[in-house]
């Protein structure tokens, strides 16, 4: 089985709460739980795909890893270091080791900076490289992401979506990170450009031995690039396991529904099943018991008031559903 030193990132029982409005004098009135009991492990060099629909907490997970939102509970160990309890120097090191990439590349780039300024900014902040060395490094980074030096003097508005995402990736790689958290990195791009960026991500991963957490609503994207997959619903992991197992034998009714609802391009396989009924509840109105029972076609009395625990259903494959209780 997995050796401890293979694990780069170990998330244990992570919970995140958001305050719901403030009362008079700024006192918190209450909070909603947006992530609950999240436990995940990323091995070095692997890609963990995180899928789920709106409001499932995918992006909050990325924000919690980066420290942009404060975890209410749990631990995050990166290479054995507890990143939720770091001193200032530790935080700086963590910022170098882990980089975030967001969905809309143009919104991630300062419109008043040239590509050169954008990509060299982390080098200015975190390294003592001289001007000439920085320029060489920026050119090399752009080269790795498929952009020639003619892009150095351009501004973000002169870039296409695909080019902008390449600039974002060049900047993310500037400090030789070990972990990239990619939050819907291709969702804003056209299919043909998405394919280019996915290929680039896989090439960079192989060349730099990077570890990826790739967050997406698209099962196709996640199936294509991931080694392991975690399925989130309303702030909880309902199923997690090796990619092939999840796709060939999804065990949780939500994973099954998600797959059935994804349109395939084969017109001979038109969907005959009845889609899931009902809306996705908001985090403030999470159902009791199993969070999915309000939309689950197979829910029974136990599901209404008891939360299912994750069960082992295969090698490294867990799912949280009462139907799977032996």
């Amino acid at each position: 089985m997995t050796m401890e030193h293979d694990i780069l990132l170990d998330v244990m029982n992570l919970a995140v709460d958001y305050p719901t409005g403030t009362g008079i004098f700024g006192r918190r009135r209450g909070h909603v739980r947006v992530l609950e009991d999240i436990s995940l492990r990323l091995r070095r060099g692997e890609t963990l795909g995180v899928v789920g629909e709106s409001g499932c907490g995918k992006s909050t997970l990325a924000m919690a890893l980066a420290g942009f939102v404060i975890a209410s509970h749990g631990d995050i160990l990166f290479d054995g270091r507890d990143v939720l309890r770091l001193d200032a120097a530790g935080v700086r090191a963590w910022r170098r080791d882990m980089q975030l990439v967001f969905q809309n590349p143009l919104a991630s780039l300062n419109p008043r900076m040239t590509v050169h300024t954008i990509v060299s900014e982390p080098l200015v902040t975190h390294t003592r490289l001289g001007r000439g060395e920085r320029r060489r490094r920026v050119e090399a980074l752009l080269g790795e992401t498929g952009l020639d030096p003619s892009f150095l003097a351009r501004y973000p508005h002169e870039l296409s979506g695909g080019q902008a995402q390449r600039v974002v990736l060049a900047r993310a790689l500037a400090l030789n990170p070990r972990l990239l958290v990619l939050d819907e990195p291709t969702s804003a791009l056209d299919v043909s450009v998405q394919a280019q960026i996915l290929n680039l991500l896989m090439r960079l991963q192989a060349q730099h031995n990077l570890t990826y957490m790739l967050i997406s609503h698209s099962l196709g994207v996640v199936e294509h690039v991931s080694d392991r997959i975690a399925v989130l619903y309303l702030g909880e992991i309902v199923e997690e396991g090796p990619r092939d197992e999840i796709f060939r034998q999804p065990r949780h009714p939500y994973t099954q529904a998600l797959m059935a609802a994804t349109p395939v391009v084969d017109p001979s396989k038109r969907q005959v099943h009845r889609p899931l009924s009902g809306m996705i509840p908001g985090p403030a109105s999470r159902p009791r018991g199993c969070r999915f029972h309000t939309r689950c076609p197979r829910a029974w009395s136990l599901c209404h008031d008891t939360r299912p625990r994750p069960q082992r259903v295969g090698d490294g494959h867990v799912a949280a559903c009462h139907l799977l209780t032996p």
């Binding site: 629909e53 709106s54 296409s160 979506g161 695909g162 056209d190 299919v191 043909s192 450009v193 998405q194 394919a195 280019q196 996915l198 290929n199 896989m202 090439r203 609503h217 698209s218 099962l219 196709g220 994207v221 199936e223 294509h224 690039v225 990619r243 529904a257 998600l258 059935a260 609802a261 994804t262 349109p263 395939v264 391009v265 084969d266 017109p267 001979s268 038109r270 969907q271 009845r274 889609p275 899931l276 009924s277 809306m279 996705i280 908001g282 939309r295």
Partner: protein, 323 residues
């Protein structure tokens, strides 16, 4: 065959540009039979939404229709009286937009927005309008429709807003609904609900649909005919079986191969190099040739004419045969 409900022929739409006019639609031809679903797919900038706006007579200025005909039940709208066209909008041809948040007025309740459309098209007097709005929302499987009428758009989720937009499109009891990326912003499980709903409405009311999307899967699952658009031109048209199982045009094939998932795990995806150019005017010959792996000399010299591959399958490419 009877007169198609909608027949678009040689449609060209242009915008003024330095040194002349820039065409964003360069001659679009297609026909939609009554009671069927017609899919238009393509990437951003290919002219999908412009086609929808042109059918409604709503090309945003300074753009204008530069040629061609748009016939609704055999009557050409382009050469006809503009007020006749305006009379069709909402009442006979309705549109559902991509972003429901932007299409709904935040200051008015759902009920008043739906009732306004019914009154506008003389489909109901005030007294009946509420009753009809309730039954319409019920038909769209929205829970507690009577209470919903008194709520404001911001109180609804994206999926509910999209259904309300659909209800507004149906409020004038139209024959043709154009859905422009109507399910793109929705989660897949909600998208599946809305697509199933459209299909049921088509069968129940005999509605005709034009579904515009970038998602090949949505079209494969819902449409009877499919057109692939590239830079303002239909490069391939056929039945779903033709387009998805035996695609001919290199662009269609490239789009299908670039889709991740299904059997592509961790292998490099087939890529269409480059991206959609901003303008077809600077490209001589075939507009796709600079990105095409099969480009030949003839592609540089002339823009390929449309070729019939079978009765119902056509492609605008110099390549021989199917594959």
């Amino acid at each position: 065959m009877n007169t198609p409900l909608l027949a678009v022929s040689g449609l060209r739409v242009g915008f003024p540009a330095p040194g002349g006019r820039r065409l964003v639609l360069r001659g679009i031809d297609f026909e939609v039979e009554e009671g069927t679903a017609y899919g238009i797919v393509g990437e951003s900038g290919c002219g999908k939404s412009m086609t929808a706006h042109a059918i409604l007579g709503l090309v945003p200025p300074p753009g204008s229709i530069a040629g061609g005909t748009i016939a609704y039940r055999g009557q050409d709208l382009v050469s006809g009286d503009p007020s006749a066209w305006a009379g069709l909008r909402g009442r006979h041809i309705a549109m559902v937009h991509q972003d429901p948040g932007a299409a709904l007025n935040p200051l008015f309740t759902i009920g008043s927005q739906i009732k306004a459309i019914m009154r506008r098209h003389g489909r109901a007097r005030s007294r009946e309008a509420r009753q009809r709005a309730v039954s319409l929302l019920g038909e769209l499987e929205l829970a507690d429709p009577a209470a919903l009428l008194d709520r404001y758009p911001h109180e609804l989720s994206g999926g509910m807003q999209q259904r309300v937009l659909l209800a507004m499109a149906l409020a004038g009891d139209p024959d043709l609904v154009i859905a422009d990326e109507a399910t793109t912003a929705l989660d897949v499980t909600i998208q599946a609900q809305v697509l199933a709903l459209l299909d049921r409405l088509r069968k129940k009311r005999g509605l005709t649909l034009v579904i515009i999307t970038h998602d090949l899967g949505v079209v494969a699952q819902t449409c009877d005919r499919v057109a692939v658009l590239y830079l303002g031109r239909i490069v391939e048209e056929g039945d779903p079986e033709d387009i998805f199982l035996e695609p001919h045009h290199p662009y269609t094939r490239g789009l299908l191969k670039a889709r991740p998932g299904e059997q592509t795990q961790r292998t490099p995806l087939a890529v269409i190099p480059g991206s959609v150019p901003a303008d077809a005017a600077n490209i001589t010959g075939c507009a796709f040739r600079e990105r095409c792996a099969f480009a030949m000399d003839s592609c540089r010299l002339e823009d390929p004419a449309e070729r019939r591959l079978s009765d119902r399958h056509r492609s605008a490419c110099h390549l021989e045969g199917g594959r």
